[in-house]
């Protein structure tokens, strides 16, 4: 399937989702916290744009609403909250270099290929184009998860979590033209509450182990001393 058979909007859509994918790679390897937050914000913007484009192409009004919702939530509110948290936790200078960046990037690429290979079997013709976007969003989800695995800093873990959400949202929008409104609202609400709770926990963790390094939270284990 060549791009030429697609309408301009669809080409635009693919481009945007490709950029979103790139942002999650950026998130994955970004060492500086603030920069990572910015990358995340950009990702939110891109997802919102994709939503808008889908709405435009499919003429689905309620998607415009959810595009706005995404923009407000993922691109503005949450990044702002994170910023505020980082500042009040005096982490704005915090750098967290990856152990083996090359390895991690390779893993990310492998995940992209894997997810593409996964969605290959869905070969109904009319799905052809959405399929690719599903692959992209699946890759975003997996990379988000990977990020939570490789990053040992609480805030970056939250970023990973949020970028997973972005991936989900992208999938929902691009593949199905948006979930029913009630669900979307519920999801958005949950994400918001989750974000607030994350904020609360940052402070609690900070005051309990005065750091946000999740590796240092290993009191609860079945390991006894002999092994």
């Amino acid at each position: 399937m060549g791009l030429d058979q697609l309408s301009l909007l669809q080409q635009l859509m693919i481009t945007l989702s490709a950029m979103a994918l790139f942002t999650s790679f950026a998130l994955l390897e970004q060492a500086r916290l603030v920069a990572a937050i910015h990358a995340f914000a950009w990702q939110g913007v891109l997802v919102a744009m994709v939503t808008a484009v889908v709405a435009a192409s499919g003429g689905l009004e309620h998607l415009f609403f959810s595009a706005a919702l995404t923009l407000g939530l993922k691109a503005l509110l949450i990044p702002w909250m994170l910023h505020w948290l980082v500042r009040s936790l005096e982490l704005d200078r915090h750098k967290e270099p990856l152990r083996h960046p090359a390895l991690v990037i390779m893993a990310g690429v492998a995940l992209v290929i894997f997810s593409y290979w996964l969605v290959l079997p869905m070969v109904e013709e009319e799905l052809m184009f959405t399929r690719n976007i599903v692959a992209v969003s699946l890759a975003m989800v997996l990379i988000g998860l990977l990020m939570m695995v490789v990053r040992q800093q609480a805030v970056t873990q939250v970023l990973g979590f949020m970028s997973m959400e972005n991936g989900l949202f992208l999938a929902a929008v691009s593949a199905t033209g948006g979930m029913p409104l009630v669900v979307e609202l519920g999801v958005a609400f949950d994400v918001l509450v989750a974000m607030v709770l994350f904020g609360v926990f940052f402070f609690q963790i900070r005051e309990s182990i005065d750091s946000l390094d999740v590796d240092r939270m290993n009191r609860l284990t079945e390991r006894t001393d002999e092994e």
């Binding site: 290979w117 998860l145 590796d215 290993n218 079945e222 390991r223 092994e227």
Partner: protein, 669 residues
């Protein structure tokens, strides 16, 4: 109405047992309630069960009923046939004696720390469980009652839970009971999968291939064998039985093991259907090993209750030898001989229930009045507690399989069955069975030695410690409880013909044939196979013995001269003191030396803190490190490996999630 008498009185028995449990719950407030009300109710329950069993066997027809309990599609069915009736008798008679005895026994516990409600309540439940197992007619009810039996007896074993050793024993007991229960459940599952459903009729109708039938048989054998205490699955028994209160030990050793035997008979002879001789060989082998190992280990013990527990292993072994012979003969199509072996096994079942109950009650009496379980501390009890001494002697003679008491009859029957092996066609089997007979003979002789040791050391000679010297007569209720059993031991020994005439209905129902000629020569002569093959005139032997004894004692003793007393002669040495007597350990020493390789002996002289040197010996079960410890270690190792999953690092957890996800996706695509 009268033909329903068995069912009614069985129901009454269950009801009474439950009531006794219920009553006992309040003995926390009114301490004497257990003694005054609960224990008599217990005895009554036993009596009712006895009546039920006897009437069922006399009527010889099969009664069934349904309870409003159980699963919607599998209500609890009750069935009372001759086999169940026989085992009801076994349960009933011992429970009756225990109920009488317990009244006096629990008085000693009334001011102890052990909670009486627990003791009484679970005793009642224990009896209920055993009764229901025997009555059950579907696997579900069977399993429920079976586990009820195990669980309640576990609580009784754990009654004195202050010592860690008792807790350990209780744990081991419950664990093995649980495993055994699961294995039995599995066995029933196999039968149910072939027949339709878990009702016993359905299983009877099931047609199994040899392979599956053998699987079911092995499962049942393991499960019931574990409960019955067959070697090598016996290790829980010598731990658990001694630590329970003595009258409960009597129930456990005397009755609960028999319930396991019942389960085995019901499963193998009744439910599986076609029987294969290979099973008989397996049962025979395991039975012989159990008998021999059991009695050898019993010989090595110094704790009287532990010794009795081990001797239970031996007797269960003898019972299973009988059952194995029966299976073997059935499998090779000699029904007549199978019946002989089967009857022998049943006879030994009731016998063991009687004398093992009696002996445990006796041990309880010693514990009650001398507060001592260790043989090495006892001695001369016969003069301090003559009644208990006399009853205990009867128990010892019976269990040592000496005429004219009951133990001899069943062993005699077993020998008779074994001696018919010349009728078999296969030379291998023909040569196998005599070896079993040899083992049986050896077991009998060793059992005699063992109980000679017990009686001689505990009741004869002179007291080896101060508190034993202060032992006193036990209350009449306890004596009565032992007396009942002792009397029955004698009766079953003297009048075997009547017993067998009563027993006959069981093989008639289960195997479709009974002993035809057993009493053909009249009640004086027991001729199981035919008069010219073998005969035993128990009454005549007894009468002669009694006459001579009375004549001797009366004629010489009373009539002419009285016996003067003097110091012991002892080859003219200085008058011996108690510490010069032979100890239990010393008594067993020659046999320990001969059979040394069977035990794990560590023997040596140890330096005491006070500077004196002391001889120390303990004889342990070889099977521990051979069988059980490896399993335990394996589980420990596995657990230690698995625990690594919970590393404590959230990122590791997340990577687990990711890995799982990817693997599953890969599988799916």
């Amino acid at each position: 109405m009268v033909e329903l008498l068995p069912l009614w009185s069985a129901g009454l028995a269950v009801g009474l047992a439950l009531t006794s449990a219920l009553v006992a719950l309040f003995s926390g407030r009114v301490v004497s309630l257990l003694r005054i009300l609960a224990m008599p109710l217990f005895a009554l329950a036993g009596l009712a069960a006895l009546v039920a069993g006897l009437s069922a066997m006399v009527q010889g027809d099969i009664l069934t009923a349904q309870l409003p309990l159980g699963l919607p599609w599998l209500p609890w069915r009750v069935r009372l046939d001759a086999l169940a009736g026989f085992f009801l008798c076994v349960i009933g008679v011992v429970s009756f004696a225990v109920g009488i005895y317990g009244g006096g026994y629990v008085r000693g516990l009334e001011h102890g720390r052990d909670s009486l409600p627990v003791l009484g309540g679970f005793s009642g439940l224990f009896l209920t469980g055993m009764l229901l197992v025997v009555l059950a007619d579907d696997a579900f009810m069977f399993m429920v009652s079976w586990e009820l039996m195990s669980l309640s007896s576990y609580f009784l074993v754990a009654l004195h839970h202050d010592q860690a050793a008792n807790r350990r024993a209780a744990f081991l007991y419950l664990l093995m009971a649980h495993v055994g229960g699961l294995s039995i459940l599995l066995g029933y599952g196999v039968l149910a999968a072939f027949g339709d459903g878990f009702a016993f009729e359905a299983m009877r109708s099931s047609e199994l291939t040899f392979g599956w039938a053998s699987v079911a048989f092995v499962l049942a054998f393991i499960g019931f064998g574990m409960k019955a205490g067959l070697v090598p699955l016996h290790v829980w028994l010598p731990e658990a039985h001694p630590v329970a209160p003595s009258h409960i030990s009597a129930l456990m050793s005397g009755v609960m093991l028999k319930v396991a035997v019942y389960g085995f008979i019901r499963f193998v002879f009744d439910l599986i259907g076609e029987i294969h001789w290979q099973w008989g060989v397996a049962v025979l082998a395991v039975g012989s090993i159990s008998a021999l190992m059991g009695v050898l280990y019993a010989l090595m013990q110094q704790d009287i209750k532990r010794l009795l527990a081990y001797s239970s292993v031996e007797n269960i072994g003898i019972i299973f030898i009988g059952l194995g012979l029966a299976l073997l003969f059935l499998g090779t199509g000699h029904k007549m001989l199978a019946v002989v072996a089967f009857v022998a096994a049943l006879y030994h079942t009731i016998n063991h229930a009687l004398f093992k109950g009696l002996l445990f009650l006796g041990a309880g009496a010693i514990l009650h009045s001398a507060h001592e379980r260790n043989l090495e501390q006892m001695g001369g009890l016969l003069r301090r507690m003559p009644w208990t001494g006399a009853f205990f002697l009867i128990g010892c003679i019976s269990i040592a399989a000496l005429p004219p008491f009951n133990g001899f009859v069943s062993e005699w029957l077993t020998f008779q069955a074994a001696l018919q092996s010349w009728q078999l066609d296969s030379g291998v089997l023909r040569s196998l069975i005599p070896i079993t007979a040899a083992v049986l003979a050896l077991t009998g002789a060793l059992a005699a030695a063992c109980f000679l040791k017990v009686y001689g050391v505990a009741f004869l000679g002179r007291a080896r410690s101060r508190h034993v010297r202060r032992a006193r007569q036990v209350p009449p209720s306890m004596r009565a409880g032992q007396g009942v059993l002792a009397l029955l031991c004698l009766l079953l020994g003297v009048l075997p013909t009547f017993v067998i005439a009563l027993l006959n209905v069981v093989p008639q129902q289960i195997l479709g044939q009974g002993l035809i000629q057993a009493t053909s020569q009249g009640w004086l002569w027991l001729t199981p196979i035919s008069p010219e093959t073998a005969s035993y005139g128990a009454p005549l032997v007894t009468i002669t013995l009694a006459l001579m004894l009375i004549a001797g004692l009366w004629l010489f003793g009373r009539g002419i001269r009285r016996v003067k007393r003097c110091d012991a002669w002892d080859s003219g040495f200085a008058p011996p003191n108690p510490r010069m007597q032979y100890t239990a350990t010393a008594f067993a020493q020659p046999i320990r030396r001969v059979f040394g390789l069977l035990f794990h002996i560590d023997e040596g002289v140890k330096l005491q803190p006070d500077g004196r040197r002391r001889y120390q010996l303990n004889v342990n079960d070889r099977l521990w490190e051979l069988l059980y410890l490896p399993v335990a270690r394996g589980v420990e190792r596995a657990a230690r490996q698995v625990v690594r999953l919970q590393s404590g690092n959230v990122r590791t957890y997340l990577s687990w999630t990711l890995a799982t996800l990817l693997v599953l996706l890969w599988i799916m695509a």
